[in-house]
């Protein structure tokens, strides 16, 4: 019973891991705890967007429940 956080591209590179398990809470709370455990994320997160269970997330106050997946997406650079 936990939240799965998936980190991509520059966020993965900064954290040094592609996936983490964290305790349920608000998105902002989860991000704060990630920065505490992986300080290099501090510079990347302000540019990122987020998916909660594959849906775009606009309110960092949203609650993330156990068994959910939070994706951290740096700015796109396709093409």
């Amino acid at each position: 019973m936990a939240v799965t956080v998936r980190l991509f591209a520059a966020a993965r590179a900064a954290a040094g891991v592609s996936q983490l398990e964290v305790a349920a809470g608000s998105v902002q709370g989860i991000l704060d705890s990630l920065v505490e455990s992986h300080p290099a994320l501090r510079q990347v997160l302000p540019q990122c967007s987020y998916l909660l269970d594959e849906l775009a997330l606009h309110d960092l106050g949203s609650q993330v429940n156990d068994d959910s997946t939070l994706d951290i997406l740096p700015p796109f650079a396709g093409g």
Partner: protein
């Protein structure tokens, strides 16, 4: 309403002639293609290797973008492919192809498609430079 002929997110080589063939028909008078190729330089710095990373949702989102383009322009067929993983210098990362009865719609739709792919598809580019440094593009 136009048809989405092919949408592909793949680690394999992608080719302009394949995508152009996918949108070809006897009613189409104009086919416009775009190929975004891996360059050996970026902002004046020499690039030695390059890799794209794609989010698992990229295929589905690329299909959605292709459908939007097909609905927004007076075109016949739309096809788009994005390669990920390591890509050698000079090979294509993104190819788009649009057919239409008339050329202006084909040019407009193809340019619009490329813009939307760059803005909306969760794909990232990692470049390694000749001086040993590297960067995730667009991530200051």
């Amino acid at each position: 309403m136009a048809n989405v002929a092919r949408v592909l997110v793949t680690t394999e080589v992608i080719s302009v002639s394949d995508l152009a063939a996918a949108v070809r028909s006897n009613t189409a008078g104009a086919i416009v293609t775009f190929s975004g190729d891996v360059r050996d330089n970026d902002h004046g710095r020499e690039v030695t290797s390059l890799e794209y990373e794609a989010h698992p949702s990229a295929q589905g989102l690329l299909e959605k973008v292709a459908s939007e383009i097909a609905g927004r322009h007076d075109v016949l067929d739309v096809a788009v492919a994005h390669r990920h993983g390591p890509i050698p210098i000079g090979e294509a990362a993104l190819i788009a192809a649009v057919s239409a009865k008339h050329r202006k719609a084909a040019f407009d739709a193809c340019a619009d498609l490329v813009d939307e792919v760059k803005a909306q598809i969760p794909i990232w580019k990692h470049q390694v430079f000749a001086d040993g440094t590297d960067e995730w593009v667009n991530c200051a």
